[in-house]
Amino acid sequence: MRTDNSSATLDRRVPAAPALRREPLGQFSATRAAQTPRHTAVVRITHWIMAASILGLLATGSGILISHPRLYWGETGSVYTPSLIDLPLPMIIGPSVWNRPIHFLFAWMLVFAWFAYVVAGLGTGHIRNNLLPYKEDLGWRRIWSVVSHHLRWKRMSTDQAGIYNVVQRLIYLGVVFVLFPAVVWTGLAMSFAVASVFPLLATSLGGFQSARTLHFVLVSLLLLFIATHLAMLVLVGFGSHVRAMISGQHPRESRSAP
């Protein structure tokens, strides 16, 4: 049956949802919407566990940071050495004592939810169908057209509602498969016990203080993503899209998926 090699590759790339691609998209939302939820249960549950743990991590991370709001490069750094970044925050000794263990508790929550999301996402085809960009979309012209569309404040046409565009797909993939692992990596690199087994975790980054600085930079990127994510939600209808992530129902007047 598989005489043509290229079609076999194509089949693997978009296997479960040929209908989703070729069928007019308006028809898709009419016929499939009633049967399939906007977001599957695993996506909904892990989304909120991850959201809650990230909120907790940001709060406790700030508590740790304010105990020494100076960032360095290399292995060592203190008030007696020059800093790379001096955050305009007061230095308050104390909060790190209890914020650290709470930080790790939320970190474990995030790691478990991430793991469940990735395993389920690979198993159900969510990552392949909803997050992996179409090959023909992967060009600067296509990406720029989506960006300029947004920049000119144009609504996405209704037939694209409920399907992520190439920019969204790349950003979600980047957050899930690059940003999250990198934040965990830089976090683990700060652990002397973990680094005693895997010294490369720290040495490859330039040292203990470099890992700490990169942890902060990566979290700043994560904050940028969260701000954009929330801003897009507000633009397309905050309530209905939050409800969609809770109940799985399709948002009524969906303009585009955040």
């Binding site: 740790i64 263990p101 198993g123």
Partner: protein, 253 residues
């Protein structure tokens, strides 16, 4: 076909993790649970502790640095005591001070500073970090804690060491912070764990915990009890609590 294959494998991996996790947990219960696992933050504490005890071994050593990388300034949070007894100890070279080791040991003993200095010594140039985030590199010189434990012959089944600093008459001032703490056998027997009496080629400075302090390479600063005077080996940590200061028992990750 390939899709089903992957999916089945993923489900299997998920089931293995769901079943294997608790099995490992209960199987290794007596070595993988930190003493404060029942506390509010016990879940995270237990996960961090057990994961690290599974991953690390007695052979996993913290990185050592060349001596030319020793930091110019070694930061200190808690200053040395300024009471009469400590000051007289400083002027007399800690004459009269002794390190007592007792509890679940066959030969309870006490050692003078000179006793310790006559034992096999070693130096480690390693990174020291505070949980606040600052760090420095220093060379610590002392005797392995495992050597002392061999001399006093710890009883099998002993799991923890409770480390007590010298009595602190200035406790109420809050400036001098002499917290007692406890560690497990894995940290106590680690080859880089020293009872340190020297630092950067000289004696251990008062602010860094003279006459001797605990120095563990895989733990943060606050677990390395300064101004040591008594070590109690025990299999029953509950009678002590877990540590004198604030924060959770296992400072790791």
């Amino acid at each position: 076909m390939s899709t089903d294959f992957t999916r089945r494998n993923l489900i299997r991996a998920g089931v293995a993790a769901a079943v294997g996790g608790p099995a490992l947990y209960y199987g290794g219960r007596h070595l993988l649970l930190p003493p404060d696992y029942r506390s509010v933050l016990g879940a995270g504490e237990t996960l961090s502790y057990s994961a690290q005890r599974l991953v690390t071994s007695n052979q996993s050593l913290a990185r050592e640095f060349p001596r030319n990388q020793i930091s110019k300034v070694a930061v200190v949070n808690g200053r040395a005591p300024t009471d009469e007894v400590y000051r007289s100890w400083l002027t007399s070279g800690f004459n009269g001070w002794r390190l007592e080791i007792e509890g679940a040991v066959a030969r309870p003993s006490s050692f003078t500073l000179n006793d310790l200095k006559r034992m096999p010594a070693e130096s480690h140039t390693i990174l020291h970090a505070c949980e606040q985030g600052w760090s420095f590199i220093a060379e610590w010189r002392g005797v392995r804690l495992s050597h002392l434990l061999e001399l006093v012959q710890t009883q099998p089944g002993a799991r923890y060491l409770v480390m007590f600093p010298i009595p602190n008459p200035q406790e109420h001032t809050g400036i001098v912070r002499l917290f007692w703490d406890s560690i497990d056998m894995a940290d106590a027997l680690h080859p880089q764990t020293l009872i340190a009496y020297g630092m950067n080629g000289g004696d251990l400075p008062p602010d860094h915990g003279a006459p001797v302090r605990l120095r563990m390479s895989r733990q943060l600063g606050y677990k390395n009890v300064k101004f040591l005077s008594r070590i109690v080996v025990t299999d029953n940590i509950e009678q002590f609590g877990t540590r004198g200061g604030p924060g959770t028992w296992y400072g790791g990750i």
